[in-house]
C-alpha cells in the first residue's frame, strides 16, 4: 500500500512535469536551446540512474558506462538510418543489444573486484569504442549522420520508465540482494545469495538503460562519433553518481540535473567546467566520501518531516 502510494505519487508528479513543459513548448515559451538542454538533462538522468544501479546499489565500480551508451547509440542509428525502422523500435533494439553487450562484458569481468573491475570495464568500453571507430559501415572516425528525431516526449518517457524500473528493482527481493552485495560481498555469499547472478543482473539492467539513453542521444544530434563515447564521457556519468550520493537514486538524478545546467552555463568555457568538476569531485571525496546525499533518498526528507508533525 505504502509503496504503491509512492509509485502513483511519482507517476502523477511526472505527468504534471510533463504537461507543464509540453505546454510551455507548445506555447512557444521554450525555444530550441532550452528544449535541447531539457532533453540533454533527461539523457543525463537516464545515464546517471542506470550507472547508479551498478555502483550505488550493487557496489560494483564500473567506469566504462559510455561504452554501453555507444552501443545503444550506434545500434539505434543503424536501425533508423540503414534499416528504416521507426524510432521506438530502434530505441528498444539499441537497448536490448546494449543489455546483451552488458551481459557479455559482465559475466567475465564481474568476477573481479574493486580497482581491477574498474580498469576492466574501462578497457571494455575503450574496445567497444575502437570497434566502432574501425567499422566503415557506421562511418568510422568521421561518424555517422543521424536525423534529429528525439522529442521532449521520448526523452521524458525514457526517464520515467528508467526511474520506475530501477526504483522498483531496488525495492524488490533482487534489489535487496544487490544491496547486500554492496554492504559485504563475503557475508552476502555466506548467506546464500548468488552474488555473481545479482551482479550480472544489475550490470545488464544498467547497460539496458544506458542503451536507451544512448539511442535517444544519437537521435538528438545530427551526428554521432566514436570520440563522443570515450572515457571522459564515462567519467562524466560517474561524477553524477558520486556527487549525488553513492546509493541514492534521487541524489544521482539531482546531480545530473544540476551538472547539466552548470555545463550548459559554462558551455563556452569547457576547461573551466572540467576544473570546477574535478575540484568539486576531490573536495567531496575528501570531506564527504559518500557523496552529497549519501544513501538517503529525497523522499526520506519528507518522511522525516511527517514524523515530526505527527508527534506534535
Amino acid at each position: 500500500m505504502k509503496k504503491s502510494k509512492a509509485f502513483w505519487g511519482f507517476l502523477v508528479l511526472a505527468l504534471v512535469i510533463y504537461a507543464v513543459v509540453q505546454g510551455m513548448i507548445s506555447g512557444g515559451m521554450l525555444d530550441l536551446y532550452y528544449q535541447n538542454i531539457l532533453i540533454q538533462m533527461c539523457i543525463n538522468i537516464m545515464l546517471a540512474v542506470s550507472l547508479h544501479i551498478v555502483i550505488g546499489i550493487t557496489g560494483q565500480f564500473s567506469i566504462g558506462h559510455a561504452g554501453f551508451m555507444a552501443v545503444g547509440a550506434y545500434i539505434s542509428a543503424i536501425a533508423t538510418m540503414k534499416l528504416g525502422l521507426p524510432l521506438i523500435v530502434a530505441i528498444l533494439l539499441g537497448a536490448v543489444i546494449s543489455a546483451l553487450a552488458g551481459l557479455l562484458v559482465g559475466i567475465p569481468t564481474l568476477r573481479l573486484k574493486g580497482d581491477y573491475l574498474a580498469i576492466a570495464t574501462l578497457g571494455f568500453a575503450e574496445i567497444i569504442r575502437i570497434i566502432f571507430l574501425n567499422v566503415e559501415y557506421v562511418g568510422g572516425a568521421a561518424g555517422m549522420v543521424v536525423t534529429n528525431m528525439t522529442t521532449w516526449t521520448y526523452a521524458f518517457v525514457g526517464v520515467v520508465i528508467t526511474i520506475l524500473v530501477i526504483a522498483n528493482f531496488t525495492n524488490s527481493r533482487h534489489g535487496r540482494g544487490c544491496i547486500s552485495i554492496r554492504e559485504d560481498e563475503i557475508a552476502a555469499d555466506a548467506m546464500g545469495i548468488n552474488t555473481t547472478y545479482y551482479k550480472v543482473v544489475a550490470f545488464t539492467i544498467g547497460s539496458f538503460f544506458a542503451g536507451i539513453a544512448g539511442a535517444i542521444y544519437a537521435h538528438n544530434f545530427f551526428i554521432i562519433q566514436p570520440t563522443t563515447f570515450n572515457f571522459l564521457k564515462s567519467f562524466d556519468i560517474l561524477i553524477y553518481v558520486v556527487l549525488g550520493g553513492l546509493g541514492s537514486l534521487s541524489g544521482s538524478a539531482i546531480a545530473a540535473i544540476f551538472l547539466t545546467l552548470v555545463s550548459a552555463y559554462l558551455a563556452n568555457f569547457p576547461e573551466t567546467r572540467m576544473i570546477i568538476y574535478s575540484v568539486v569531485l576531490i573536495i567531496v571525496m575528501l570531506y564527504r566520501p559518500t557523496g552529497l546525499m549519501g544513501t538517503k533518498e529525497i523522499t526520506s526528507l519528507f518522511k522525516f518531516g511527517k514524523k515530526g508533525g505527527s508527534k506534535v
Partner: protein, 291 residues
C-alpha cells in the same frame, strides 16, 4: 630484417611504458591505489622538458634531470594534498579522487596554455646505425640507455639503500613497519617522488622520440602503462619492466601487420585476458583474501 626493426621500435616504446608502469606498480604496492594522475605527471614531465630545452636552451641530460626533480616534487605534493587523507577511506573514494586529480592537472594545463600540441625540439642529430640490415636510430639507443640506467638506479635504491628497505617493509605490512620505527608517511612520499621522477623522465623521452606533445597525451600511455603493470604483476618492480616491454612489442607488432587502428585495443584485450586468466600477473604473488 623488417622484424628486427619492428622489435627495436617495440622495445623503445616498451621502455617508455615500463618507466611509467614502475610508478604505478610502486604506488600500488605501497598504498593499494591506482594513481590515475600518474599519466598526467608523465605529461607534465614532457612539458617541463620541452620548456627547459626550447625556452631555456639547455641540453638533453640537464633537461631530463630538471624534469625528474620537478615531477618528483609534484608527485609528493599530489600525495600530501589529495591522497594522504584517504589512507583509511574506501577504495572507491581513493580511486575517484585519483580520477579527479588527473582531470584537474589536465585541464589546468589546458587552461593556462591551451590544448594545442607542441613540437619537441630536436636535441640530438638523428643518425641511424645499421645492424644486421635494420636501421636503428640514435634516439632508440638513447631511450634504451636512459631506461637501463634509470632501472639499475632504481634497483640500487630499492635493494641497497635504507629508504628502499623501508619501502619494501611498508609495502609488505605498513602497520608492522610503523611498529618497527619506520616513518610510513615519509616512505610513501619517497615512493611517490621516485615513481613521479621516472614518469617525468619517460615524458621527456617520449617527447624526443615522438616529437609531439599535448596536454591530454598522458591519458592513453598512462592507461597502457597500468596495463603493463598489471601484466607484469602489480606491485612487482621487475614485473613492470617486463610488462612494459611486452606491451610495447605487442603493440608494434599489431601496427606492423597492418592493424594500426586496432593498436590501442590490443592493450585492453591483453588487460582483460590477463585479468581473467591470471589476475596476479606474470610475476605477482597469489594473495589469498582473508575474511
Amino acid at each position: 630484417m623488417e622484424w628486427l626493426q619492428q622489435l627495436v621500435n617495440g622495445i623503445s616504446l616498451g621502455s617508455i611504458y615500463a618507466l611509467i608502469a614502475l610508478g604505478y606498480t610502486m604506488v600500488y604496492g605501497i598504498i593499494k591505489l591506482i594513481n590515475f594522475a600518474h599519466g598526467d605527471v608523465f605529461m607534465l614531465g614532457a612539458f617541463i622538458g620541452f620548456y627547459a630545452i626550447a625556452r631555456w636552451d639547455i641540453g638533453f641530460i640537464p633537461a631530463l634531470i630538471i624534469s625528474m626533480l620537478l615531477c618528483a616534487i609534484i608527485g609528493v605534493i599530489i600525495e600530501r594534498v589529495a591522497y594522504k587523507r584517504l589512507r583509511n577511506a574506501t577504495r572507491i573514494a581513493a580511486l575517484i579522487t585519483a580520477i579527479g586529480v588527473s582531470l584537474l592537472i589536465e585541464y589546468t594545463v589546458i587552461f593556462f596554455r591551451g590544448a594545442s600540441p607542441e613540437a619537441y625540439p630536436e636535441v640530438m642529430a638523428n643518425k641511424s646505425i645499421s645492424i644486421f640490415g635494420a636501421s636503428i636510430s640514435s634516439q632508440s639507443i638513447m631511450i634504451l640507455a636512459v631506461t637501463i640506467v634509470l632501472m639499475i638506479l632504481l634497483q640500487f635504491i630499492v635493494h641497497k639503500t635504507k629508504i628502499g628497505k623501508a619501502m619494501r617493509a611498508v609495502s609488505h605490512d605498513a602497520d608492522a613497519a610503523r611498529l618497527m620505527g619506520i616513518n610510513v608517511d615519509n616512505t610513501i612520499s619517497a615512493t611517490f617522488a621516485i615513481g613521479s621522477a621516472l614518469a617525468g623522465a619517460a615524458g621527456v623521452i617520449f617527447g624526443i622520440y615522438y616529437t609531439r606533445i599535448d596536454p591530454l597525451m598522458g591519458v592513453l600511455p598512462g592507461l597502457k602503462a597500468f596495463v603493463a603493470a598489471v601484466l607484469g604483476g602489480i606491485g612487482s618492480i621487475p614485473g613492470a619492466m617486463v610488462g612494459g616491454l611486452v606491451l610495447g612489442v605487442v603493440e608494434t607488432i599489431v601496427s606492423a601487420i597492418g592493424y594500426s587502428l586496432w593498436r590501442d585495443a590490443a592493450a585492453f584485450v591483453i588487460l582483460i585476458l590477463i585479468l581473467i586468466l591470471k589476475p596476479s600477473g606474470i610475476f605477482g604473488k597469489n594473495a589469498r583474501e582473508k575474511v
